[in-house]
């Protein structure tokens, strides 16, 4: 089995064994953690301009 196929199979197995509430909590915690990182400026001028340029296709 290729690594890609094994990874997909493993992900599906984990999903079946992961309590949906706990999974949602993990996603929320990850977002909160990312928000605390000064190195990941989601709301910075640079990030906004980068996104805008991408959307405008330049």
């Amino acid at each position: 089995m290729t690594i890609s196929k094994l990874k997909k199979k493993e992900e599906l197995k984990r999903e079946r064994n992961w309590d949906p509430r706990k999974r949602w909590k993990a996603i929320q915690e990850t977002i909160s953690w990312a928000e605390t990182l000064a190195a990941v400026p989601r709301n910075s001028r640079e990030a906004c301009l980068r996104k805008q340029a991408r959307l405008l296709g330049s």
Partner: protein, 161 residues
């Protein structure tokens, strides 16, 4: 997901690892939604054993099938040798352990090129931008993340200037 805690336990157990995937990209470039932490370990018996110990301490759970999904501490020593990739859950978040990574051949060379980082006071080594790009390009087009490829290409170009 308590990424700092997961990295701290890996470091404490002296696991030789590289942070790869979405969290590595997020820490160095821009936010992406990810619900697991991807770790590529050096594939030696000693290191796998250290990693098994760390995962037990993190109370990770995994099973080779749904009917034997249990805390990893219940699997006998050497269980990480069973396959190339493991997707598990833990109270600190989902953890993916890779013994092999598609598109990358040699862990040691990638480690030499890796980038030092710090999150929440915890040090880690993350896969370099060039190696992250190699991983993306090794995937099928439908699996590739075009946003990441674009950001990585831009970062590599910036660093060359």
């Amino acid at each position: 997901m308590n990424i700092d805690r997961i990295l701290r336990v890996l470091n404490h157990n002296r696991v030789a690892y590289l942070l790869i995937g979405g969290v590595n990209f997020l820490l160095r470039h821009q936010p992406v939604l990810t619900c697991d932490i991807d770790v590529w370990i050096e594939d030696t018996e000693k290191n796998r054993s250290r990693c098994e110990k760390a995962l037990s301490q993190l109370k990770a759970e995994w099973g080779s099938a749904d009917d034997n999904w249990v805390p990893v501490a219940k699997h006998g020593p050497g269980w990480l040798k069973r396959q190339a990739v493991f997707c598990m859950i833990s109270p600190h978040g989902a953890i993916d352990i890779f013994r092999q990574v598609k598109g990358l051949k040699d862990w040691s060379s990638c480690f030499d090129r890796s980038v030092r980082g710090k999150t929440g006071g915890v040090s880690f080594r993350g896969l370099s931008d060039k190696d992250m790009l190699k991983c993306q390009k090794a995937l099928s087009v439908s699996e590739q993340k075009q946003d990441r490829i674009r950001a990585l290409n831009q970062a590599i170009k910036r660093n060359q200037q």
